[in-house]
């Protein structure tokens, strides 16, 4: 039997004195699995996170001895503000980690850009027509690429390759980041090791989860296919913005809605996987969907991030056309936009961890436990 109790972590809340709540946990419950201790590394304690520890900012569970409480009634429900605050805390607490991940992302995109630059240099560096194209002369742009019909495909392949590579690397990065957020190491200098071990330990579980998520995302694709059947004709006949909005809403609304739901469920499934090693990807995904029903707040939290991301991107696109900035200034502005978006994403993950560390809803456990 395992007892809930106060953690020795510096951020933990002290245990309640007096009547100590004791909850018996079935050792066969696959939701909680004791991990074997990793062999010690060269320094520091072994990577053996205590994933059953509740969220540091929430008050501990209360227990009044009744059966309903024993089934794990939901205690502190974090608000949207709490989740946002958790995100900000995480950013303040792990700036180096966030910075390192961002630099990796930047590095991959710069590597892709360098390859693109090589291809473009070979094709256009000695062709003054391309200079006019980059000054906004549309016929010059069309003529330049018409003269090198293979180039566009090559550029897209470079970008596509970078996307696939980064997506795979993201599985590692997400696993590592979640491991650090779920169970912050005692000492700052262990963050990197914690991150690396967490990423390695969770890479394949997250990959399996990604494969299982093809199922719900297939529904998104089907919804888009159904909604977009007549979209081309309707867009062609749209005379005003009003004519555009309704067909777009019909075509894009339902799949966006489904994507919103699926993405949120997958996000929480990831947290669950990192939190409960050994859990199957399918089970984690189902638990993720169940959480949406039990705690619809999570949808708003994700929506907030999505709207922020879109708003920052569209806002930059809207003003960039009128800015007569040079190349360096443009690059700087774009990196500011990218950093802001990235930090928002990290904040989202931290908020998701915060919520996931509150009690797991019991009915699900009874049905599927």
């Amino acid at each position: 039997m395992k007892k809930w109790g106060a953690s020795e972590d510096e951020d933990s809340v002290p245990a309640v004195v007096g009547d100590q709540p004791t909850i018996e946990i079935d050792a066969n419950d696959s939701a909680v699995t004791e991990m074997e201790a990793e062999p010690s590394g060269p320094k520091g304690k072994a990577f053996q996170p205590d994933r059953t520890r509740p969220a540091p900012t929430l008050p501990p569970l209360t227990f009044d001895g009744s059966i309903s409480s024993a089934s794990g009634s939901l205690a502190a429900r974090p608000s949207l503000f709490t989740l946002a605050r958790a995100g900000a805390r995480a950013l303040r607490r792990f700036p180096g980690l966030c910075g390192s991940i961002y630099l990796l992302q930047l590095g991959v995109s710069l590597a892709a850009a360098s390859l693109m630059g090589l291809l473009l240099t070979e094709a256009f560096a000695r062709r003054p027509l391309f200079d006019r194209a980059m000054d906004g002369d549309l016929p010059a742009l069309l003529t330049s690429f018409a003269g090198r019909p293979d180039l566009l495909g090559a550029l897209l392949m470079v970008a596509g390759g970078a996307l696939v590579l980064y997506w795979l690397v993201s599985l590692f990065l997400t696993g590592g980041l979640l491991a650090v957020l779920l169970d912050p190491p005692d000492r700052r200098r262990e963050v990197a090791r914690w991150f690396g071990a967490g990423g390695a330990a969770n890479f394949f579980p997250l990959l399996r989860l990604a494969l299982w998520s093809i199922l719900p995302y297939a529904a998104v694709v089907i919804a888009f296919g159904l909604g977009a059947r007549d979209l081309g004709t309707r867009l062609e006949r749209a005379v005003s913005t009003g004519d555009l909005v309704v067909p777009l809403l019909i075509a894009v609304g339902p799949p966006l809605l489904l994507h919103w739901i699926c993405a949120t469920a997958v996000d929480y499934a990831r947290v669950d996987l990192v939190r409960h090693p050994g859990m199957s990807g399918l089970r984690a995904l189902m638990r993720g969907f169940h959480l949406l029903v039990a705690r619809p707040l999570v949808l708003f939290h994700t929506a907030l991030y999505g709207l922020f991301f879109a708003g920052v991107t569209v806002g930059y696109a809207a003003i960039s056309g009128s800015l007569a900035e040079g190349l360096l200034v443009a690059i700087l502005l774009r990196q500011i936009v990218s950093i802001v978006r990235f930090l928002a994403h990290v904040g989202l993950l931290a908020g998701q961890v915060e919520l996931a560390c509150s009690a797991v809803p019991a009915p699900f456990r009874r049905r599927f436990g």
Partner: protein, 673 residues
Amino acid sequence: MRAAALPLALLFPLAAPIGAAACRGAPDVEVVPMPVADKTPPWIAPGSPPPAIASYEIQATLDVDSHQLRGRETLTWVNSGADPAKELQFHLYMNAFKNEDSVFWRESRGKMRGAKAARGGWGWIEVNAIAVDGGPDATGRMKYPGPDETVMEIPLDTPVPPGGTAKVTILFEVQLPEVYARTGYKGDFHMIGQWFPKIGVRVGEPGSQRWHCEPFHLMSEFFADFGNYDVTLTVPDTHVVAATGVLVEARDNQDDTRVLHYKAEGVHDFVWMADPFMEVIKANAHTPHGPVDVWVYSRPEQSEFAERHLAAAVAAVEGFSKMVYPYPWARMTVIDPPPDAADGAGGMEYPTLVTTASDSVFTPEGVWLPEFVTVHEVGHNWFQGILASNEVDEAWLDEGMNDYADGVLMDKIYGEETSLIEWGPIRAGLGASRVAMSGTFREMPDPIAQRSFEFNDYRSYGGVTYAKTAAAMATLQHAVGDEKFLAALHAYGMEMGFKHPTEADLVRILERELGQKLDWFVRPALHGTGAADLRVRDISCRLKRASRGVFGRGGHRKVVDAEPAPDAPYHCEVVVANVGTVPVPVEVELVLEDGRRLSKRWNDRGEGPRWRRFEVDDPQPVVEVVIDPRNRVRLDDGGLHRSLRVHPETEAVDRAAAHGQFLTQTAMQVLGL
């Protein structure tokens, strides 16, 4: 339950606009105000209209529910040829939409310019009675000599002698198709063109004259004689009508119908539109013959575009009146079809009435596509309406010459580099865009001067007849001089107005006005395939010095191994070539290292080699060569190869790579962490 209901509640805000859109039906149809008759006569130019060869008096009634017309036509035809006419041939264009066996259907497979025929949306025309010069009904003697029912022939008991007249009375009925190829209906909108039995044209040399009355092909338009039209239309009083010519009378009947009487003079076609929801806005265009009423009809939801079309139409009437021939009619009418009919009915020209298109949320101010369509269609009133070349045999004399001329006008109105798009950081000139988007001319398998229905396919027809012809004329303009060419074009218009000119007439007048033979260009450009293909082949520079080697003989032999002097200039050689099929004089700009630009000219008219070497001695080396720096030689496939730098410069490439980096990073952030 409460928690589960929340996501469902999120769907509710979407339901309202979706429901509203689904419930939105057509607005209620009401009686429209009685139109006011025009005070001006249809012809405002001094003197008379051209001799009337084929004049029509038509009374027609439109049934808007069945989309059918019943008509009575009296044709007064004058045999203007040198041979007697033993039969009369008529176009029955509407039978092109009768079934899948028609020539038009077989060539188009039910599609045209992005519009598709609706299943069951057939159209036809039937002659119920025909009598010549008061004789008995001759429907039993009607023949269909062509491969389908779009050409009808009636033999004459008494041939019409040269200069003689035949008066033909025809009763006909028409079923309008659902519009996909210029004529027909869509919902309540009716665009009624090619709708009455129309006599062919007598062509050929004396002694061998024949009827020019081709079946209705996909890739051909229309050719007819000039005449006067007197047309009376009976329509429901709920419908707004616009038609060729001017309105001379309007009155209401007791049975909720309205009778509208139109007249047009010196035209070769009559079309009209009926729609219950159209509104009209008006302005005046000022021409040498006085003010011309310009009217634009559109539905209320397109009113913003109507203003743009009106401004473009006024500019076009005024511009073409100066450039080609003063507009001789009192009215120019522009119809802006509703969006669901625009693909089928939009973008077409008729004398004094055109249909426009390109109203879209994606063509805001600054994307001048709606304006371009209006200018183009109005421009046809000169090349198709006034000059009226044979569009079937020489479509380029209308389509291509018009495309060229409206490019000149658009450049004048909106600027040469922004005449198509001037939106945010994006700019595009019409001429350059047309060339960039039409593909390479060498891949078009047909020459410009070819009968329209003999083109390989519609893509070739469109690319060659429109874009390649416009490019050829723009190139010729550049070769001979802008002002001289435009003056020659004006002379062509003034001399050949209402005379159905041919290629021979155009070339003859151009050569006369320009004072030079044009065969070196006309033969390859109009009668061959391909285009120029200008390329910079080589740039080389070295410091000038004395020649090295052994000089002299015998005792005077010496070895020279000179180095360049410290202040030696550069000797540069630049080789440009034209590896295409069309020669063209061209400007070549040599850019020196200090930024100076030297302009050279290669006066290539097809004599001599297909390349030219330029040599320059200068303290600065040549670092860049640009052929045709002002981009005036449009009939060219050289593209990227028309300019070359000695040393690579990466500023533009770096900007492009930076765009790629940001887009890739954004996608990475969407897909991953």
